[in-house]
Amino acid sequence: MSGDPIIELKQVDFHYAQEPTLEGVDLTVYRGQSGCIVGPNGGGKSTLLKILLGLLEPTRGEVRIFGTSPEDARSRVGYMPQYHLLDPAFPATVLEVVLSGRMHSFFIGRYSRKDRAIAMDALEELGITSLAGRSFSRLSGGQRQRVLIARAIAGEPELLLLDEPTANIDPGAGERFYAALEELRHRMTVLTVSHDLGFVSRGSDLVICVNRQVTIHQAEHFTQQTANAVYHHEVELIKHDHSCFCHCGGDHAAGRR
């Protein structure tokens, strides 16, 4: 495999109370690879993401991000949460939100000119420079998602973790989001937690299936049968020449490729 290992999990277990959420997880992601973390609700996707971010300590096993602990690697990791979990009425402009991606442990006082320039570059990269002075609360779901990605990349990460990025946004906004993401994949490792199996056919190298245990598939070999096995029931994974639709247990996602 080309490149250095960026993520290394060895025999990782995680238990909530006495209930095992993850068991015996072995996972290696190399520099330059991009992956999609899929699996049913309660399967442990969010837990895995929190372990990678160092927000949860595994019950057993070893986690290395860039060869160090997740806590020590945080400055090299960008993270985008689900936008609908944030206070929709919070009084902040788009630029203020993106600038918070420049925050660091020893920050004090005001953001520097360099910080502002990098934040504006991040906005430009996502095609939302015109929104800089707008209130975050007055944006659409798709615009908020792009602002949160801009905030994540303003920290100049080498690894970008995205949590359900296309949840609760309309298909059109999802399409713009995919386009922005494809650009980012050229220069950083991107891992996406998603129910939207459209991601599988949108430039991911790996499909990381999480359902208490983790299995890793090459994206091109991720088939209908594999998807059914991960979700423990029949899901629709229809691949056309130009589009990919998936329908899993009431969750319906659609994306074009």
């Binding site: 945080r74 206070d87 902040a92 402009t93 203020e96």
Partner: protein, 281 residues
């Protein structure tokens, strides 16, 4: 007119003192109140405020029974509010799901302890003054404390404004970026407890929380920036405290309810304004 004539009479020093304390407390309450509202810790601040009565009761009891004269009710209020804020803050950091229950327990327990101590305190105690505010309880020393706290709060907010904005908007992300979110959160709780104590004489224990949250919540209807919300909240606090003190003096009302009813009316009108603006947009 009677109020303005009386204001400059030499024996009406307490009235001038009340207005000055209100003038100095407004920026502190405006800034901290905005953070309390945006960080959504109003109920935690409410528990802290009501638990202050436990400290007031303990202080008065020790002063009268054990003759511990230095243990003033104000110091007791601060310790009660601080202890409650820290207890709730630390427990909710560890067990977030239980926050509501813990807040309720601390809220009720603090008040009950205070009332029990007051019950066993010999002599007359103006407990209503502590509960609902009494500008006669204000002293020049309160002016000094209010000014010092105001300066400390404003400097801290100026220095840590980006961190405060980042963690109020998205605590997890701020933590991942290296912000010491727990330290700043606990510091915010300390400042909240201090602000509540400052507001106790003006608005009373029961209503201090309203003075902390109503102006900030109303300010949120007029702006989309955190810093301008702090400024508008400060201006509204000035207005509410001044009008409330004048009304309380002229109409012989406890100052707390007079201030809070006025603030409540402005808040409801602001919500209406917000709603109309949203419909028009």
């Amino acid at each position: 007119m009677e109020f303005f004539t009386d204001l400059f009479r030499p024996e009406m020093g307490f009235l001038r003192c009340a207005l000055l304390v209100g003038f100095l407390a407004a920026p502190v309450a405006g800034v901290i109140g905005t953070l309390v509202v945006t960080r959504r810790i109003a109920s935690l601040a409410g528990a802290s405020s009501h638990a202050a009565l436990g400290g007031v009761g303990l202080a008065l009891f020790l002063q009268r029974v054990v003759h511990l004269e230095w243990f003033s009710p104000l110091l007791g209020a601060f310790l009660g509010a601080l202890l409650a804020a820290m207890a709730v803050g630390i427990i909710t950091i560890r067990v977030r799901e239980r926050a509501d229950t813990i807040i309720g327990v601390v809220w009720a327990l603090g008040m009950s302890i205070g009332l029990l101590f007051l019950n066993y305190t010999p002599g007359y105690v103006d407990w209503q003054g502590y509960l609902f505010g009494n500008i006669l309880l204000l002293s020049p020393a309160d002016l000094g404390w209010t000014a010092v706290l105001g300066i400390v709060v404003l400097i801290a907010v100026l220095l840590f404004y980006p961190q405060l904005l980042a963690l109020s908007f998205d605590n997890t992300f701020a933590e991942l970026r290296g912000v010491r979110t727990r330290v700043i959160y606990l510091a915010l709780l300390v400042f909240t407890a201090l602000t509540i104590v400052l507001l106790i004489h003006v608005a009373g224990i029961m209503l201090a929380i309203a003075l902390l949250t109503l102006p900030a919540a109303a300010a949120g209807c007029y702006t989309r920036h955190l810093w301008s919300m702090m400024v508008i909240s400060t201006l509204l606090n000035w207005l509410f405290i001044t009008v409330g003190i004048i009304a309380s003096y002229v109409l012989r009302l406890p100052s707390g309810p007079a201030i809070v009813v006025f603030a409540g009316i402005v808040y409801v009108l602001s919500l209406g304004f917000c709603r109309i603006r949203k419909i028009k947009a």
